[in-house]
């Protein structure tokens, strides 16, 4: 097995190329710049297009335009740029434009802690654009997962014809780990299956397909009906399109299964975590397990749609859940809503640029599980 030390950002770029990405537009920002650099090095040589734009608004606009032309298009940014992109992310969602946005999160808001890690864009990735829209948000807690998530993002964007966000964090983005050398498909322009030449119009809704052909293409930021033309007066057709899209995403089995369990079989308490925090949680769980404390980890690969079924299943089996994230309480809110009182949901988080340490998570898990273990066997950890 040929291994190569690879940076998370580099892996994300390779995942995009493996998915057939042939267009990248972006604006450099720490800690996402290496994605742009990698695409700048590799895309032109593969016959793709690389554009450094004047800012993030332009970058996202270019990505949308490229997708209309049939390209598999991506951009990458961090918090401040992600904020600027929200307008166009909403536009991509409404115009049913498949594309991928990687956000390597750093401390915010604003310029904030520009070089330090955070997981503060979790809600923005779902709700940052105004109005209702379908949303798919993936994440990664290793270099390999940064590759896999970005590759998967293109398939999901294509399937659901919507922008897909991949949330990294400053540590995963800049971390190097050995991974198997990635085999890239041969260069060449692989059109979206949704393009005119390969597929009939999209899904249930005969909205004008993208990607060439001689017929005029109608794209508008106005809500559209099933014919792709702007709706006037009643918005029922537009609402139906949104609802269908949201429902399709909610029922996509690939998204619903975007979780991974560690030591959950007999766990009394479980930590729910994602990204770099899942690594700390895993270390905490391994350490406590070695000491005989029955705790486990549910790691999330998909943040949105929230894997509710998996969370409810977990909540029905444990005495409590600890949500750990590098923010002051974001994903814990919809998790509490999903769990709906089945079990206590505790929270541990921080937003000072430091990581949650395994000891910090472990101490909270002990507090949670300690009393339970004491009742069972006289053990006192809390």
């Amino acid at each position: 097995m040929a291994l190569r030390m690879t940076m998370g950002n580099e892996a994300a770029a390779m995942g995009a190329l493996a998915a057939g990405c042939d267009f990248f537009a972006g604006y450099p920002i720490t800690p996402a710049t290496e994605i742009l650099e990698e695409m700048g090095r590799r895309l032109p040589a593969r016959g793709g297009v690389f554009l450094q734009m004047e800012d993030e608004l332009a970058a996202m606009a270019a990505v949308i335009g490229a997708a209309w032309g049939g390209a598999r298009a991506m951009t990458a940014t961090s918090g401040p740029g992600f904020s600027l992109m929200q307008e166009h992310i909403g536009y991509a969602a409404l115009t049913q434009t498949p594309c991928v946005v990687v956000d390597a999160q750093r401390g915010g808001p604003s310029t904030g802690l520009p070089t330090l890690p955070a997981q503060g864009d979790v809600m923005q990735a779902r709700f940052g654009a105004h109005g209702d829209r379908p949303a798919i948000v993936l994440t990664a807690s290793s270099v390999w997962e940064a590759y896999a998530a970005t590759r998967q993002a293109f398939a999901l964007a294509e399937r659901h014809r919507t922008p897909v966000v991949v949330l990294l964090d400053a540590v995963i983005a800049h971390m190097r780990e050995p991974v198997e050398i990635f085999d890239l498909p041969p260069p060449g322009r692989a059109p979206w299956p949704g393009s005119r030449t390969t597929k009939p119009p999209f899904g249930r809704h005969p909205f004008a397909p993208f990607g060439g052909g001689r017929d005029p293409i109608v794209v508008t930021g106005l809500s559209h009906g099933e014919d792709g033309l702007p709706t006037t007066g009643s918005g029922q057709a537009a609402e139906r399109i949104l609802k269908d899209s949201i429902t399709a995403i909610a029922h996509d089995p690939e998204l619903a299964s975007g979780v991974e369990g560690f030591y959950l079989d007999d766990a009394r308490w479980a930590v729910v975590a994602y990204g770099i925090t899942a690594r700390a949680a895993q270390a905490a769980v391994e350490s406590l397990r070695a000491a005989g404390v029955p705790v486990g980890l549910l790691k999330l690969h998909v943040l949105w749609p929230l894997p509710e079924a998996a969370l409810i299943h977990l909540a029905d089996r444990v005495d409590g859940i600890l949500v750990a994230e590098l923010n002051l309480g974001q994903l814990v809110m919809p998790i509490r809503a999903a769990v709906a009182g089945r079990t206590p949901v505790e929270f541990v988080g921080r937003a000072d640029g430091l990581l949650l340490a395994p000891e910090e998570i472990g101490a909270r898990l002990r507090t949670g599980s300690g009393s339970v273990v004491t009742e069972q066997g006289g053990r006192r950890d809390a």
Binding site: M5, P178, I276, Q282, L355
Partner: protein, 204 residues
């Protein structure tokens, strides 16, 4: 973390922006991977375009590494005073500290530090920028946490062709500086003892 003893070494490299701390961490991690170890390498720097304290952290293990951040390091390699002040503190009791001799102030000299004239030697050899690789050479000689062969292979592969020889010269000079050092190292129980040249691994 898990059951049973696992050979695990946590190394923190620190210096100031521009000294090549990130590259040194990448070279060290890459060499360890070639040696067949599990390895993670993370990095941290400030918002400054240059200067400012920076660090790279490398964990080497015989088992998969869950958490890549180094809390208390077993080994500190320090190239600058600001790096020492910001990142020099979190070391296991009695941990090994290899520092550039000008990076510690007079008042710190009574501490148990292994000081090396990396900067002066690198200048003498004609390229101060190779100080980072020289420090890695010393780390290799004192601890044996990575193999000399892997370090050489990585430098040949990663460094621009025009600078390969200068960096290999710096690596060997660093190894020479470290070869006579009997470094105080720490056993898992925290007891200090004299380490042999390749003793550090055995103690983990």
């Amino acid at each position: 973390m898990g059951a049973g003893p696992v050979r695990l070494t946590r190394i923190r490299l620190t210096g100031r922006g521009g000294q090549g701390i990130m590259l040194a961490g990448a070279i060290l991690a890459d060499a360890a991977m070639r040696d067949g170890r599990h390895v993670t390498e993370t990095q941290e720097y400030g918002p400054e375009a240059r200067l400012g304290a920076t660090k790279a952290e490398v964990i080497l293990s015989d088992a998969p590494i869950a958490f890549p951040e180094v809390g208390q390091a077993d080994i500190l390699v320090c190239l600058s005073r600001d790096g020492f002040l910001k990142y020099g503190g979190r070391i296991v009791p009695g941990g090994l500290r290899l520092v550039e001799e000008t990076s510690v102030s007079e008042e710190a000299l009574d501490r148990d530090l292994c000081r090396f004239p990396w900067r002066e030697r690198a200048r003498h050899l004609g390229l101060e920028l190779t100080m980072n690789v020289m420090a890695i050479g010393t780390l290799q000689a004192v601890t044996g946490v990575v193999s000399e062969e892997s370090l050489e292979a990585v430098i040949r592969e990663r460094v621009k062709a025009a600078y390969v020889e200068a960096n290999l010269t710096a690596l060997r000079e660093g190894e020479r500086l470290g070869s006579g050092v009997r470094a105080p190292v720490v056993s898992p129980e925290g007891k200090r003892r004299e380490g042999s040249r390749h003793g550090f691994n055995d103690l983990q």
